[in-house]
Each structure stands twice: as C-alpha cells, then as structure tokens.
Symmetry: C2
Subunit: 519 residues, 2 copies
Amino acid sequence: MPQVTQMLRRAVQLNGRGLATECAGRKRTWAEVRDRCARLAGGLAGLGFQPGDRIAILALNSDRYLEYYFACAWGGFLFVPINTRLAPPEIAHWLTDSGATGLFIDEAFLPALPAFRDKTGLRHIIFCGDAATPDGMQGHDALVQAGPAIDDAGARGDTVAGLFYTGGTTGRSKGVMLSHGNLLANAVNGMTMLSFNTNSVILHAAPMFHIADATVTLFGTIAGATHVFMARFDPAAYLAMVPRHRITGGLCVPTMINMLVNHPDVATTDLSSFREMVFGASPMPEAVLRRALQAFPNTRFTQAYGQTEAAPVMTLMPPEMLALEGPKVGRLRAAGIATPACDVQILDAEDREVPRGTVGEICGRGPNIMLGYWNQPELSAHTLRNGWLHTGDGGWMDEDGLVYVVDRVKDMIISGGENVYSAEVEEALYAHPAVAECAVIGVPDATWGERVHAIVRLKAGMAATEQALMDHCRTLIAGFKCPRSLALREEPLPLSGAGKILKSELRAPFWVGVTRQVN
Amino acid sequence: MPQVTQMLRRAVQLNGRGLATECAGRKRTWAEVRDRCARLAGGLAGLGFQPGDRIAILALNSDRYLEYYFACAWGGFLFVPINTRLAPPEIAHWLTDSGATGLFIDEAFLPALPAFRDKTGLRHIIFCGDAATPDGMQGHDALVQAGPAIDDAGARGDTVAGLFYTGGTTGRSKGVMLSHGNLLANAVNGMTMLSFNTNSVILHAAPMFHIADATVTLFGTIAGATHVFMARFDPAAYLAMVPRHRITGGLCVPTMINMLVNHPDVATTDLSSFREMVFGASPMPEAVLRRALQAFPNTRFTQAYGQTEAAPVMTLMPPEMLALEGPKVGRLRAAGIATPACDVQILDAEDREVPRGTVGEICGRGPNIMLGYWNQPELSAHTLRNGWLHTGDGGWMDEDGLVYVVDRVKDMIISGGENVYSAEVEEALYAHPAVAECAVIGVPDATWGERVHAIVRLKAGMAATEQALMDHCRTLIAGFKCPRSLALREEPLPLSGAGKILKSELRAPFWVGVTRQVN
C-alpha cells in the first residue's frame, strides 16, 4: 500500500549520503533529512497531535517546508499548505474549514497572525523561520532536536495525506483531499516522462504551498535529487542561483518564465547546467516558449497539465513529440499526452467521448484522482460523477493523442453567440514584439453579450498603440476573436500566489452589478 | 481503477492509425487491433465463456498471441499462458489446476493435443495458427470476424487478470495470480526507467508465454509502439530481422544475448536502429554484457530484475549509473535500483532490513506484487508474510541502492559450510575467452557436503583443458569458490522455455537417491 514516506525512504536508499536540501547556507543529507522528519513527527506527537489531525503551514519556501510535508506524512498528520497571498479572513476560513489544530509559520507571516489566530481552533503554533522562536510558540528545529524519532505511523493507501485548497483567492475555496495513493501514483506516473535522478539539483522558486511545486518536492524526493530553495521567486535572484548551485531543473509557471526571459541578466547568465524545466498551471504563450527555448540552451521544456484534483498531473508533453517548425509546429500549443496511469478523455455534457478535434471538457480517471473535497460530499459527487474527474477546462485532442487546452470554462468569452478562448487571443497578443504581458477577458456588452477586452503591459522602452495591437491580432486570428477594446497599463498584472494572472480581479470592475453567466 | 485494456485504449489514443502489429506479412493498426480484440472477446462470449473463466494458450509467438492477451482482458476472462517446453502431463496439470475451459493452440502443438486433451476440462479449442482450422475447433480469425465487438467487461483493480505459472519445468508448479492493478502498476513503474514510445519497433523473440516478454507486450502497448514477432528465437533470424524492420528494442534473456553476440553474422549486421535492450530473467555474465555493448553500438542495455510474483519488475538499472570502467565498474554486475513504485529491501530471516553490503533475501512490496498463488492459500501466505514478497533470491544492496543478486537460494552451493554463489563462479568462467556457455552446480560430496562442479561448453574452434579452466578461476575468485570438478561437453546446455539454463536437469543425475537440502 503506497505511502508518501516511501518517497523519502527511497531517497535515503539511493542517496543517503548525498545532499538532500540546501537552504540559506544549511546543507543536509538525505539520511539527515529522514532522521529530522522522524524526529519532527515525534516532536509533534509529543505535543499531542494524533494521526488524522490537520496541521497547516503558512510560510515562504525553505528546507523546513519540505520537512513539514514528510514529517506530517510520517506521523499520519494531514498537511494543509496555505496560499501565501491570502488575506487574514481567508486564512481563518481555511484553518477553520480544515479543522487545523496546528500551524507552522515563519517570520513573513507573523504580523498577520493576530488577525486570524483567535478565529481558529489552533492549539499549537510552530515557528519555522530563521529568527528566534517567539514566545508561546514551538520552534521547528527545537521539535526536531527534542524528538524522539518515532516509527512511521503507517498512513497509506486511500488514507488522506493532505488537503490542498483551491479557489482561495477567488470564489469558494475547497479542500482537495489527496491520499497517500494519489500522491505516490502521481509521482510514479510523472516519472515516466521526466528524468529526475540522484544527479539532479532542483530549484524551488514557485511557492511550495501550491500543488505544482509540491509535486516537484515529491518528484525530486522519490528520485533522491537535491533540493535548493529560494524564499520567493525573483527573476534576478533566480538567474543568479542557477550557475551558483549548478541547478539542473525545476518548475516554473509561465508568468515566471516570461519574467526570466525578459530579464536583462538572462543574456549574460550561464544557464548551461539547466536540463529540465517543467511548466504548467496556466497556458504558455507560444512566443514566450520560443524565447525560453533560446534563453535556456540545454533545457528540455516539458509542459504539464492538470489540476489539484488530479494530484495534479494529467498530461505531459514528451520531448520527442515537440516540433519547433514544420507541419507539426502547432504542437507547441499542446499540453501533452495522457500520462500512462491517467486515462484522459474529452467528454461532452453527457460524458460521452467527443470525436478528435472537437472541443469538450477535459476529464480524467486513474489512481491520481482525488478522494473528493473535504466536507463537501455533494460537490465531490458532482465533480467526480460517472467515475470521471471533470476539470472544468475546455480542450480537444488531436489524432496523436495530444490534448490542447482551449480555456478554463470560466475564462471563455461568449461574444455574439461565438465561443472565444481567451488563451488563443493572448497567444496572438504575445506574438507582438512589444507585449510584455497581457490578459484577455470578457466584459459586458449591450450588443454582443460579452465583448473581448484586452489588458496589455508593454516591455520597457517599447511602444505600440492600442489600435496597432488590435490590428496585429487581426493578422493572426478571426475578426470575432479580436479584442474590441484594449487597455494599456504600466503596472504588472495581478498574480495569484501560484503566479497565475488573476483574471477575476481584472474582470471585477466591469461586472459590478451585473451577473456573469458561466457554463 | 486500473484495467489491462486501458493500455490498449492508450495505444489507440496515441497511435490509432499507426502500425500495431506485423507478423508473417500481416500488418494491422492499433485501431484495427483494438477492434479485433473487442470482436474476439465477443466471439469468446458467444461460445459461452463468462467473466472469470480461464482460457489458456499454447502457441509460439505471433500477433494473435498479443490479441489473445487483450481479448481476454477485454472480456474479463483470465489468460493462462502455457510454457511451450512442457510435456503433455505437465500441460494437463496446468490446465486442470487452473480449471481452464478454453485453449488457444497453434500448429506447433497440435500433435501433442491428443495426449492431454481428455485429461482436462476443455470445452473449446481455438486454433490460432496460420493453417486451416482443424475440425472441431474454432478459428481465431473466424471468431474475430463473427464477433460481434462487445463492450469492455470492466474487469479492473484487484480482479485477477491472468495466471502465470512458474516452476513448470521443475518442482511444483504454481499459478501466480496477477491482477489488472498489478499489471498496470508494473507497466507504469517500468516506464519510469525505459523509453518506449510511438516511434518504437519492438521485436518479440523471447517466448510470449513468459512474464518477461508479456511485460514487453504491455510496455509496448501502453506506449503505442509497433510489435514485430518471430515465432521462436533463432539468432540468425533475429539478426536478419533487426535491419529489415528497423527494430528499436526488445527483451532478451542473457542466454539469447550470448547466442547473438557469438553468432558469426553479428559483425556484418546493421544493428544501428536498436536503441533499447531489456534483459533479465537470469544473471548476465559481465563478459557477455561487454561483448553485447560492443556488438550493439547504439543500444542502451537495461537490466531488469524481478520475478513472476512481482508482475515482474522489481529493479531496473538506470543507464546513467552504469560504468564500463573506473572505480564503479563493479556496477556492471548490479541488477539496478528499486523501481519507484516497488519498495525493495534486503531482509534477514526475521524480515528485518540487513545493513548495506550484507547478503540477505531480496524482498519487495508495492502495487505490482501478486495477489497470491491460485488455490494455494498457505503457500501464498508464507511467500507474502509480513506484507513482503519473499523472492527466494539472495542479494545485497550497496550505498547507492543498487541491488546485486548473488544467486537463487536453490542454486546456492553450501560447500564445507561456506556459501558459494553459482553465479559468481560462472562469471569467472565466462571471463575465459574459450567459454561459450557454462553452468555451476552443487553435487554431493562426502567431505564437503556439496562440491562446486562446473559444466562447460567451449566455443567452436577453441580449446582449453578442464584443469586450465579451473586454474583460470583461481586467478579471479577465492579458492573455496572454485570448481573442484569440471566437465566439458559439446552439446548445448539444456534451456527452459524462457531460455534459462536448467540447472535442475544438470543436477539431477548427481543427486539420484540423495536429498538436497535447500534453505
């Protein structure tokens, strides 16, 4: 029966004396990390935590974040990673909804603590920062030192390993219950198409609370690789760390890759050690991917598609299928093929498979699919109806099994009765050399129902008029898909904690007092 | 819930119009093979077979053998592949033990049919050869044509998919129950370290009844690759087929590889298309591996270790860990590291993990481990005690997690109280340039209990005396391990259906009237 801790044991088996984690000058071997996790689990048990208890974390990236994941799995406690961009009332909601009685926190979030602590059932706060442990809290390292190391509690199989909340920044938040079996299945399944091993050095730059980076935490561990951490993503710091640590791989969301390739240091940085970049969590504009392939000369870029509910990987793009030119160049926009263990199909509203090339809902089934949403049996049953996870994403499949994500159902624009996929319009805008970043949304329109509206930030020192950008789109996509209005802005677009552009926030001012219809 | 047929559906999803099978001039696409399997399942259902019924097969390799596997899985029938080297009483035993009511057979085995048919409960014989269907039998292709295609019966998860018998040629035969979940887990797990894809062309030369080649049947299908078949292994024919079909990969047992690299045609054959050779099922002498690496210039040789009870893969040798020279050259003898989904440990008699470097029993647990032995609950419970599959193989693990198989417990020789691993002595003999093949066994000895005895066949045109060969061993291994007697023979060593040297047969004449103690 699969266990999350099995990944940690495998790292020790393959690379016990090898470097497991490097963070802020601290270096530890896999044997040390395994021992620390067993002791941290013992320390938590000593505080009274029982298997099944929920222990949350609100922290920036660090080696202690990795230890938190594995110590919880070791002790049978459920991990509940919290989005670092939440406001205190949202944090309080996640903590109370999950029933968390413990919280790991670092100095970045101490100021917010008084605003939510009393609204929760927290009994113990564990400080996992670098400063001195505040009064009234336990220290992460002190718990490790106190221990004692306990035996693995044996949580496994269909037992919930953790709750990953989605929708925290917009809409109703839901705690996705991922089991030990889900997370191990995802790790093994992902390894069929990625190549992390004991020689890999992985940089954690995307936030560790998010399932995308959590997955890389697990991939890197089951492979016995080395993990290097940066507290939060910053393009200049990222570019400095790659040559310093001879980083070989990691995960970025497209927004981060866009910032890296547009950063002035990219041209002078030695990125030759970098072999494998996994990207996902939101669509990658083709123009950005092409720039990235130039900037990272030795790097295989592997697109992953999935969602938290799938633990999360559903498709991966095999490098041998990618074509940068020629008749199959359209594959640059594909999200990949179904991973071997996950059955992915495009279904219609009655859950029948649609013909290849037809847009439907991307659905999946397999050992990686979540148990359900925490305390939401009706929503769980609806999302998992007929044995399929319904992603809410529109997509189609070509004759080679490649899946093309057209849009989140909620981001699709219905204008004059035509479906417009915002990602496709954004692709066209990103193909313009002056565009640094953009978002395309539907806004209310008396004539068309919704109107295609674009928000664009230009690159520093570049110029383009609104009309020129709209005209540019007409050269690439059909007229009904082109923006009918376009706004230039100077400030960066708002991002979620995971680095996705927050379209809900961009849409909000247009929809005051108007209800938007979403499928 | 995992299904064997999921692999077939994935092949159609990725490569529906691509070549699935090529055999004796017949070529079929994956869409055609899927359709044929659904129709063959329908034809079998029309004969009265019900889900859960056992349908055996006794045939040489062909495209129809692959269809048999997937049609059985599709209809929910259990496949029971039969060793092609069995004598009629042994065949009768397997058929009655499994309770098979159907049998696929080809012309190679028709002559033996009268000798066992009446001793079994067979109700239908399906002829899967190329000749006209004999009277009283169903034709494989006729069943496909009659159909109709039926819906997948939905057998999945922990439901038994098939019975793979082991020990048929020696000792008591046991039907290993492998579930749909076991076989899919093995396929996904194996793909983490192999690289079959839709561009692969796989040659089936090892017998398809054996779990080793059955695994490649499943690996190649979940990857959407092309399968090419030769009825039975022959080194000259094999070498001719590689360039003709641009074969990219396949599985051979070491005996087969030894025959290939010793064949005169190997020097003049274009083997450049061959990328990935998986080998396993018995130890690979290092000298043979070195010759093979020279003979196949573009080929990655990946050693797989496991057993039928593990569906079957437990360890694989990652190519980046292999070293042909230098301080890590000893890794050439390693069987690889634990595959990600299978927890492999070396345990002592009390199932405690032994220190690295200490010989113990190789044990495994994970989603690939068998449900048990068919109708043998006590043996199942013993073999799977404490949650571990006990392989009966002796081995040790190094600091990098590499597993070294020292010997089958039953092949280990205890001489004067010292354990001698026959594989190690054979390694030494194979290092002699005149040795074509050899086997080392324990024979009764009044002084030592067992004596190390070697049986050697020399290469054509080469000469070496018994004494010279024994002296050669002394230069490589400790005196107590060296053969104390050695017999040269001219005829090839006896092989099992899977191509393993039959040591039991070589031992038998020495042990008449004497009982051999085996751990």
